[in-house]
Amino acid sequence: MTRELVEFVMKQTSGPIDRWAVAATLESNGIRDLDARDRYGKDDVFGLADEIYALCLAEQAATPVPEPPVARRARAVLISRRYLRGGFFFVQLALQLGSLAVFGYAQWASIDFTGRQASVVGLALLASFLLTGPASQGIGYVGSFFSEPGKHLLATRAVIAVVASGLLALLAGAVGASLLDLGFGWYGHRLLGVGLAYYALVGLLSLTGALLYMLKQFLAMVVATVAGIGVVGLVLHQTSLGIYAAHWIGLGVGIAIEATWAALVLQRRRASTSTELRLAVMPPVPVLALLVVPYGLYGFAYFGLLFVDRFAAWSAGAHGLPFTFRAPYEVGLDWALIAVVPALAMLEVTIFLFAERLEVLAGRFEIARVAEHNRELLRFRRRHFGYIVLLLLGGAAVATGALRLLEHAHATKVSGLFGDRTMLRVYALGLAGYALLVFGIFNSVFLFSLGRPWAVVRSLLPGVVVAAAVAFTLSRLYAYWTAAGGLVAGSLVFALLATAATTRTLRTVDYHYFAAY
């Protein structure tokens, strides 16, 4: 008789925790004191529960816990997709650079630019990325902060607010640049106007791109880029409007596609928001702002570290302009960036596997063995550091090999640059700088995952300062291209500080995993 009660209780509770759990479960199954007496010979349900609990304990001891099955194929697919997502930015980069090499123009660049034109446009690009960096990171953070729990109405509102802050930053930058130019008379009205147009359009494009990235609409970004470049070609070849107008229209088309696409996705998500989550209210602005600030700072400092050496290189020596674009320098750095793409793509995989590992190990280790648990995660980082190093070496080998080939091939419109000594030197320094930068970001990934964005900012900001100091000093003392040494020095500082912060964090990763959420 009691057999079926034991089975029922075991099924309902997958092992009761005490007599009260058994009593409650029996009562919920309609067992009364009367039944306990008449059918089971006990005083009441609680007396019956004591007996059933004892039988359940014996049962539990006898039943081994089955291991969950592992779906290897599904996992491999999942990890590959993560890797591809991680490498996605390369698709965008490749489209632009490929178009420049093959057709001679991209969405915002042209090999036919004069030195002055390239300088103004280049400066506009750097400034727009730098000033929209905080908003781009902010979009990613607040977007997922609200979207992940399904609060799409709030996500939309918050994202619009962050985009507006990005627009304000752009506006402030434009006013600042105009005042400077008025004061110093560097570029003159016409060139300043051209620069500001590029600056504003590329700034907008980077904001709409951040929106799509947050919404995981990668296809849309490719479509927008291809369409944008296509339109540049169309206007350039089919009209007499010239390169500026072609770029502006191409950028406009890209922005329009991205913005429309993002608006449609947001609209669809808002419409699908559950009735319950429609009631969600916005947290107080200062509370939310405090959460977003470190991500914004990271966005600014990240682009700062990426670009500060260029500012130093472009402004070294007298060329009549305060900033002069230097093609060999740019090509050297861009080529070095391509070399680290395979390693950068890996970071998405690291983030994914780290989150998974955290959860699995947390269930596997008893708290008494927490030190071992934490060491296991330190080992995880070491292993992934190894993968990153291998991918860096592989990427560098392939990129360097390709460089050698191109040097002799004369296949593209920019082949002449590939044999340039300065370009090669910058490439070598860029390779070292970007590799160190990847180490820094690699460690930051752990800190971000564990909700420690300030630790990342504290590692990155000194790196930016050092990069600026070294880049400006070297480029003034030696040749302009030695500014790339700033990237190396700054990235080294970032990598060291981030590694140290991550080591400290992982040593007590159990605590940080708790405190992050």
């Binding site: 092992g15 919920s28 309609g30 729990p149 009631l279 947390a362 995993y513």
Partner: protein
């Protein structure tokens, strides 16, 4: 009489089912989950300066020297089951006072709290060590369930909690600060209901044990501080007494219905032709609709023209609805047993039938019984919770999960028209005498007046 209401919910995204009456001065909404920091929602009206001040005050040193000893006392209390539990009320009060001036999230995520919690929990059960993940989830639960301690407690003449759970924590605070009288109502027994749902949840054994230890601790603490425990049904005593409530402190206050809304009427034309049993029940397992269906098969054997009409949402557990439909088909009861879904006018549904059926395997004090009685329709119900308390002498009570007994009892009542009508009349009189909404409200008012010393107990 004015009220400040504390609404404890799972997440912040909820709306009112009923608008609060004008004498509810304020509603303090405390969502236990759904935010990372209470500053996002619960404390959203706190001036930012105050928030900053609290954050600055919450240093690791201060947490270690003041908060951690309180936390350790609290965790020690989780193992206490005797009357000395009352001594832990002051811990709850001190925790509340801490959070008057300190930041909630910064406190709970401090290293000292994590270390103290880990130490304590590892020592609790050396043979059943929690995992790293267990500690993580348990400390999160602790900080979430204690959230009612993050909000101000107004000075009032009385605290009335409708549950012996976390929502009652402000009552303990008020008792220690101002000696405020404390009344606790219980519908289902909180600790019992949590046992059922936590046991069935996919948590680790440690996590279940911790959550139930915390839940039981709070229930015992609430009982120990209550001046009067007023369950809606006597049946609840069987859990309340072993959890520390002296029998003398328990005084049931039954639910009531509005006899002006649930009025006796003749059956409408559509169902006037033959014997009809109605039921008002959401279609889900605790209502044991399967037994009701089988009882219909038993009843049809004896009374072939009988019909069962079941009103109640079909959305609560869709797979279960399918199981019920399959059973109806299997027993060829399509002409006898109808799942009619939600009824827009509950006051009308009982009078569509001659008797009302309740087949639940677990209940507290079901409204459907009182509503049916108010409509002068006798009830055949299962002997669960307080059903017998209402039905003894006014209907038929049968063993749960016994379709034979349920079906026969239904037929028995159907067979004797005169007796059934007489029983219906007595049901109506019983409701008018004992189960009016006003009886219930007056009983609470009397309890308020008595506990606040404005009237001596009768």
């Amino acid at each position: 009489m004015e009220f400040t209401l504390y609404a404890i919910t799972g997440t912040p995204e909820v709306s009112y089912k009923f608008e609060p009456p004008p004498n509810a001065r304020r509603v303090v909404h405390v969502p236990l989950f759904g935010t990372i920091d209470p500053a996002e929602y619960l404390l959203r009206d706190l001036p930012f300066d105050e928030l900053r001040r609290r954050r600055a005050a919450t240093t690791e040193d201060e947490v270690e020297t003041v908060f951690v000893p309180l936390l350790e006392r609290l965790l020690e209390g989780l193992a206490v089951t005797g009357p000395e539990i009352r001594d832990y009320g002051v811990v709850v009060y001190d925790l509340w006072r801490w959070f008057e001036h300190h930041d909630w999230r910064r406190t709970w995520t401090s290293r000292s709290v994590y270390a103290a919690f880990t130490r304590r929990e590892a020592a609790r059960a050396p043979n059943a060590q929690p995992s790293v993940g267990d500690i993580n989830i348990a400390l999160h639960w602790l900080s979430a369930f204690l959230l009612p301690l993050a909000v101000p407690v107004p000075r009032t003449d009385l605290v009335h909690s409708t549950i012996a759970g976390f929502a009652a924590l402000p009552g303990i605070v008020a008792k220690h600060r101002d000696g405020t009288p404390f009344l606790v109502t219980e519908h289902g027994v909180y600790v019992r209901e949590r046992y059922i749902s936590v046991s069935a949840a996919p948590f680790s054994p440690y996590a279940k044990r911790f959550l139930m230890a915390l839940t039981s601790f709070v229930a015992r603490l609430v009982y120990a501080h209550a001046d009067l425990v007023a369950p809606v049904v006597r049946f609840n005593r069987r859990w309340e007494i072993p959890y520390g409530v002296p029998a003398a402190k328990i005084r049931p206050i039954y639910n009531g219905v509005d006899p002006g809304v649930f009025v006796p009427k003749a059956k409408p034309e559509a169902t006037a032709g033959g014997p009809v049993a109605v039921a008002a029940a959401r279609i889900f397992p605790l209502k044991d609709i399967e037994t009701m269906i089988r009882s219909a098969a038993v009843a049809r054997e004896l009374l072939p023209e009988i019909k069962y009409l079941v009103y109640g949402s079909l959305d609560a557990d869709k797979p279960y609805v399918e199981t019920c439909r399959a059973l109806i088909a299997e027993l060829r009861l399509e002409q006898t047993f109808e799942l009619r879904g939600f009824h827009s006018k509950p006051a009308e549904l009982y009078t569509e039938g001659d008797v009302c059926v309740l087949s639940s395997i677990s209940e507290a004090f079901p409204y459907t019984v009182l509503e049916s009685m108010s409509c002068a329709r006798p009830v055949v119900g299962t002997d669960v919770g307080g059903v017998k308390e209402a039905l003894e002498g006014f209907g038929r009570v049968v063993r749960p999960r016994d379709p034979e007994a349920l079906g026969r009892a239904v037929v028995e009542l159907m067979a004797d028209d005169e007796f059934r009508r007489e029983l219906g009349r007595r049901c109506r009189e019983e409701v008018l005498a004992k189960y009016r909404t006003s009886n219930s409200v007056n009983a609470y008012r009397d309890a308020y007046l008595e506990l606040t010393g404005r009237r001596v107990a009768a």
